[in-house]
Symmetry: D2
Subunit: 397 residues, 4 copies
């Protein structure tokens, strides 16, 4: 009988469903050294957390995360709450000796993120592991891209074009939510999806941003309170009177440039107003002897251009990343059988469990999350200033 | 506490993994009227079936399907063995009063399929449900295509172009397997993947094939016995001596034309020799006022052409089929978050459970599978003859 | 001063505009050994042919092709009339010692085509050149595809998937034209566009069809006479009364299979009812070590799959065929600057002039056109019969 | 007999070939009110200009542009020399009463461009017309995009993503040319291709940039002198010793953000180092009710997303812009027959001739060119500073 790794998860929103699927499915496909066990689900509302626990298959539920993270029969704390509570929970869990998987963003501010990172690094010395949930690193195509670039297949990286485009805010009648309030969400498109673009660009290239210059913008500054979230454009003209409006205090759009430590340049775009784009996280890396292009809306594919192919025969090659040679794939389905959004969560759970069992530090670390947080902070400072270049604090890391 | 639906699954190969994932995941996303319970996994080899049961999360394992299908504490029998044993198991299970989900093909011959269909129809009168696993009907894009066509959005269907292209046999050094032996596999590309093309074309259009004309071909007629399945082309030239060769007795390729009962025409292609195509099941339906195109290699998308759009503004519209308006999607992830191959199995499990609970006949039925079998038989007869048109038996049904 | 090659062109319809552009432009980009001179345009109607001559830049016009093809000051006769007059004009011109470029189809019947081929072959012995206008052989991507295949880059060809899809007849209110009458047009989709699919598949692979099996269909059998050709679908329902209907006597759609002399298989589709497809001539060739895919709607690209690339790195590579290494391209624009439909006519004019100057037989020959005609005849015979395989006459040639 | 418009063209490089094709072909497809006549080609080297005149079909050649622009028998001067001579020639021609078509960039500096614009505006009052050659405005898809946006089909424009990506400089062994020297070329990627991205974004949206913030970079700062231009990457490693290196004084890459006068935001990228991208000018416009995307590498297509389509049926619609409803297309080929790079030059010639005959000011004007020059200047100033936002001079215009 294999040893158990007893997991408690704090948070029961959309990300809770995704992480639950990761814990549920990983052991059914991968051969794990220890067996994760979905023990406790923690949420604020007793009814809804109990319902979620039953639905998602957690053994018990709780409304008291403080009590849970102290329990002796818990080995891992998985944090999927909104970003403003990450620091408190993660620090408590680490100090209680639990391994921590924390969903991104690491925190809503660099100050919090710094504290978490210090605690995580101290915990690591006691064998306590921590990992940040930049799940798109666990899409086989992005990990394969990193491998190709690390192997020198595109030569020296010159520039990176990264964008994460969504369109769920295009309708001005779409209502206010906590995601549009700075005090709760930290930031808007920048922190929510721009963070992914930054992390993925750095992950794929192995480079780190040192300076940024950018602009944030909010196109729709007031939104109806209490409206239905469906708010179709067609309905907008039907004149439903919405008595009250709330102030949108985060960015709809963040555009910025970045200079990597190697001297390479990057352009970054994050938008919730990119009409027609649903979840288009794209990264294109141009190197001296090749290029790589990835698009999350076609996540099983990777485009690879090899400039050392014979003249006249060069072209972007669409590799369907479902072969046994590709990361994680041999555990899944035969070639040509597509993976989806949630497989990243199972791959992530596998790698986290492996690292714990092997006594190694998983990646991305809290320090990686802190770095991304600092990049985003620098973008905000640049935008609040006159758009000039701003150093990423600690960039020399 | 919800009522349980106690499932036994017979077979522990690749399809067993896929069906297990369906049973495992469906209740975690959908609100099911009764709760499926993964009770018994049945296989031939006691060690491997026990390992699989543990891995996949079945409570117990068995090597005796006859005993299992008779057990009082089993409600559903899910059959994922090779096609030559479907008839025997399904008939026994239905006669024992179990609901049956049978993976395609229904059987390796029309005679067997007829017997199964008769038993299933008799069982239905006693409230026993049976369903065939043409899982690609449960991809949201194909079900949405069916809805658009049924709603008249492309007008009268004139022709259908369906192909299922793979390339895993292109290397002549790729070894013999049971899938290449007619006595075990029934047929080659025709039955394995051509069957999907036929069913999906009929499902999407709501039409049925009445006559066919076609050709089967085997390009590589001998393959090494006992070779490794990796058999890369590169390795082929390395001169590994393979002492023995076996005879390939099924088709590598099946090309055929079909006439639907409405008068519409279809072209069908199934190939395991379509170099570079991994799992390319494509169906394009051309109607009098529009068209639909689907490609399994881009399974979250549906192309829709509306010929009633203004002149100059018409074009194939790539709908990303991940909106709450699309079939099954509201249970999964937000818009733009991609589904994969296996989601069809969860959607299928949901629909089967729903039908059982509602006392309704699920679809596709065994009769649907029999019909596809008869189409394939007719293609074989046409190919064995001179390629002339052959009636699909029972097509008037 | 370079020697002149004095051209007379017979026919002033759409194809006349295309061939005129070829003659006009070729000498401005290519270095030709002799200079084509656009001397006489011949048409039936004196006013319209004179207007066309002035518009297109021909020195003079005439309504008497017989007189023109006898003139001593004409070296080349370019025939762009409908197919039913090709034989008479071409034979007269060849016998008068003129080099002949004849637009496809060579003729409306094999009998005529045979006569033309005999005359052309006799003329060749006297140094008189003849060439058939299968212009899609002069798209750089198709010629490059032929070169790759001839160089063995995809290994042994196993199957070919060729289709030519258009949709200009989907609206039943679209009016009768001579193209829909068998006595004038010879055939419908089969001869008009299916011919291109056959020729291009044979050209790219270097193979020849020996047997075919197929079906022709006419979905809209009556069309209004004298209606406007715009006939939008939207308008169809507006109830414009059209007093009279004419009988459509050609095929809307032709689907057929073909066996090449090498044993390779082909599927062919020609349709004027493929809703949403405007000019989609596609050929995909699957070989034992690679594949090639071409699409005329993206004519500057060629997809190439190399199955000898490293495992995990294989994929269809989209080559933009605008590099100096590609056929004809160095005479045109820099890399990445796209060519269009008409460039094939200039490339064709260049090759025809080169062949004349070099005293060599240009390609495709009339014999090539005769062969395609025989393939189409065989498809018609198969369709008129029961769809069984029919030998292509003279296929052993 | 129609009146002639007698053209002299100054410059016989690559752009001379493109403009010649425009003058040559336009009257053969369009019905022009006056007939352009290709009278004099002017170049520096007597042998090469005479050869080019003969090749391209100009009646005579000259090496003295000053003499030619004064000739009474010349109506139009077409300037296709490098940018540093545009001002002198254009001003002389306008003052001599000639209509002027000037290839972009208008000039190498804003100061020169201002002078030209003043002279052009004064000339316009005397009925002398001037036009700038931003030819990509004459691609049917871009003009159709402008029409859709102007018609409100995408609502209010929120952001624009424009990039022009090429890769001809990726190889460090690729040699020095005048295009890489600031004193001759003015700037690098910014002025050469970034200018097109700016103009096209403004043209399609009808908006004008008021402020910019950006960065220029030169990745390869020294290049071999006198090397062959083919410089393949593969050859680079072969160690051919190149004695001397020259300094690259222009940008390889320019990335910038722009604020339009409406408040909309733009991101702009110009690169000659975007490995694998040959001529990828792309503009995506996101509006409140729709979106438009164009890609010059697929120039016959336009992607259009209509957010007022029914929920669940929205998607980017690929319009093949070859229908008679599309700008200029009715003069060319039937639907589905593709146009290429050079058709923009014929469309441009047509519009210029039409404007002259109608006594109207053609578009784009020199003032438009001046504005783009000022945008580029502002980008350079931003990059030379600290990347902060810089006003576009005269932006309030």
């Amino acid at each position: 009988m294999r040893e158990l790794l007893r997991v408690a998860m704090v948070g029961n929103g959309f990300m809770g469903a995704a992480h639950s699927q990761g814990w549920r499915v990983a052991p059914r496909f991968f051969d794990l050294p220890v067996q994760p066990s979905m023990d406790v689900l923690v949420g604020r509302n007793p009814q809804s957390v109990q319902a979620a626990a039953e639905k998602w298959g957690w053994r018990e539920s709780s409304t008291d995360w403080r009590e849970v993270v102290e329990r002796d029969d818990i080995d891992v704390v998985d944090i999927v709450t909104p970003g403003d509570s990450h620091a408190e929970i993660a620090i408590a869990a680490l100090e209680a000796g639990k391994h921590v998987l924390c969903e991104k963003p690491l925190a809503n501010s660099s100050a919090e993120a710094e504290g978490m990172t210090r605690v995580a690094e101290a915990a690591a010395e006691r064998g306590i592991r921590s990992m940040l949930g930049f799940t798109y690193r666990r899409v086989p195509a992005t990990a394969f891209a990193r491998r190709l670039i690390a192997d020198g297949r595109i030569g020296e990286v010159r520039h990176v074009r990264a964008s994460y485009l969504q369109d769920w805010l295009i309708d001005p009648a779409s209502p206010m939510t906590w995601r549009l309030q700075k005090d709760r969400a930290g930031s808007g498109a920048l922190g929510d999806i721009g963070a992914h673009a930054v992390d993925l660009a750095e992950y794929m290239t192995g480079l780190q941003l040192g300076r940024v210059s950018g602009v944030l913008e909010t196109f729709v500054r007031q939104r109806p309170i209490g409206g239905s979230s469906s708010g179709a454009i067609a309905a907008a003209s039907s004149g439903t009177p919405s008595a009250e409006y709330g102030e949108v205090t985060v960015d709809d759009v963040a555009f910025f440039h970045g200079r990597f430590d190697s001297g390479a340049l990057g352009t970054f775009e994050a938008s919730r107003m990119a009409t027609g784009r649903k979840n288009a996280l794209r990264v294109e890396v141009s190197g001296s002897t090749g290029a790589i292009a990835f698009d999350l809306e076609d996540l099983n594919a990777l485009e690879f251009y090899d400039a050392t192919d014979a003249a006249g025969e060069q072209g972007f090659r669409k590799i369907i990343v479902t072969e046994p040679e590709h990361p994680w794939v041999s555990a899944w389905w035969p070639a040509g059988h597509m993976l989806g959004y949630e497989h990243g969560f199972a791959n992530q759970a596998k790698d986290f469990v492996d690292a714990i069992a092997a006594g190694q530090s998983p990646s991305p670390s809290f320090a990686d999350g802190l770095h991304v947080q600092r990049v985003l902070d620098a973008v905000e400072r640049s935008s609040e200033g006159d758009g000039a270049w701003v150093e990423v604090v600690g960039g020399e890391g």
